[in-house]
Subunit: 116 residues, 6 copies
């Protein structure tokens, strides 16, 4: 039986490995920066993940939304917090964001079911 969370992460990991194996300096450094950028700093890790989620939502990138939803979930954020953040991004990004919000809700549900 398919598990959307596992599927997403497996594909992501497999392709990231291939990209890293390639040794292109720019690609590797961007990936490295990506890890650094979301570490605790002047702002909390949670604030940064909310920011990453919101930025991904207004830029309408489903995979990026999934990734940050999962990080928010792992940090213990509850659904009300995540939905509130996404509602701000819906307002800023407009109704064009709605289809991505549907898929975000679906993935959040998958995260909750995956855990149980």
């Amino acid at each position: 039986m398919s598990n959307p969370v596992e599927e997403f992460n497996a594909y992501r990991a497999k392709m990231n490995d291939k990209m890293m194996a390639d040794n292109n300096k720019i690609v590797k450094r961007i990936f490295n920066l990506d890890t650094n950028a979301f570490a605790e700093g002047a702002l909390s890790k949670q604030t940064k993940e909310v920011l990453g989620l919101g930025n991904s939502l207004v830029l309408r990138c489903d995979d990026c939304v999934k990734y940050h939803l999962e990080e928010c979930y792992k940090l213990g954020m509850n659904k009300a917090e995540v939905v509130e953040a996404m509602s701000v991004s819906l307002l800023i990004g407009g109704t064009i964001v709605i289809p991505h919000l549907r898929r975000a809700y679906e993935y959040w549900e998958a995260l909750e079911q995956n855990k149980s």
Copy 2:
């Protein structure tokens, strides 16, 4: 002598008044939602303003960036916090964001000078 903060706010207020005077229901409700969306809720007002700033930066809207920078400033955020948030958005949004980051730095400076 021109003051960029006052100029920005004066133009914004003048045009917002004209839009509100127009009584278009959709426009008025969107403006009303805009106020609600950034109120304290499941997330703090500050987290939401950081989110608003980041969303505006990756969508590359200078006026929106200015508005949220000013809100962050009024909430007492320091430059390190604001720059860290913007650095995450620079990474997500790419180097295409750099010219907007320049103008954001310039406006933050104007906010600091305006106060003193």
Copy 3:
């Protein structure tokens, strides 16, 4: 046998219900505004649906395009009218719109086959 029109609408309705059940004020009001925005007003409902279709196409949102195509279809617009509107948006939005235009054509065909 799968029916793309029914599938699209079933998923859309299911997820919209979940979002509405959530009682986030911003999300609910945006959905409510969405209904109001496309009602007959200073402009005809058809003009507004053409506008919704075009905006969705240049913003390259396949699900939004499908939704407005279906509304245009229900309002009795013919293919020549819909294609002409989409051709304007193709020109404004550029060839990057072409893959979305392919899927729009496919969905229009599904709408016509669904009816018969």
Copy 4:
């Protein structure tokens, strides 16, 4: 005294002439298509201009918005119609569109003052 409508059109005309003088085939044909695309066809010229205005607004191009506002104005559309179209695009495009809406209001006012 500066006239924003005349200034905009003078710059636009001057630079378009330079681009046409350059004889790049793709550029010339795109410009030519641009004229054709907004001619009366299966849809009325007015519907197409509303579409052009809305597409320009959600893509957040101030100069394109100005151009289509002027075309709508010349076709005799009233402010209520134009504002209603823009309100739909504000909803679809989100609050990130607001600064562009401010400038659109300002230009519409300039169009009205230019005439009198």
Copy 5:
């Protein structure tokens, strides 16, 4: 067994035929320009395909990326060249481009396997 390259091209060809059959003048001319734009000229065909690939990547259009990857592949470009071009676009477009880069790597692999 499914072949991603053949599937992509079959769908693309089928839908392009339907669009051409429709005789909308704007759509046909845009398609015609598309062919002309990538012909050898002041710049080499390869430079133009690299440009088409990069533009598609920062605009985040998977189908457009696939199309230009295939053209680059047919022109004999090697993986290092293609990856370097994509790394520049990743930097300009930001980490929001990463999911599209994953799918680009996957398609390049499919192109190599398809040949053998």
Copy 6:
């Protein structure tokens, strides 16, 4: 008398200095990567600058377009080459790119006049 090329570069240099002085790690590394990305590699520096120009044009960033136009100019590219590259990006990015193309033409002219 104002010189658009000098003005642009002076502002750019001044603000870049302020950003670098700030010691945010992500910002500094992105700036550093930006320099690396356009160095000679598997692709020529010129091909990469054409790519940078095109990416900036379809993402509609005037300052980025100016920067890459100047780099192309310094590499000795002629106007026909630069215009051809921009015409491909106009086609991919659509007529929404036209106002940015006007400003690109204007800046190219300024580059030529600045030299003489």
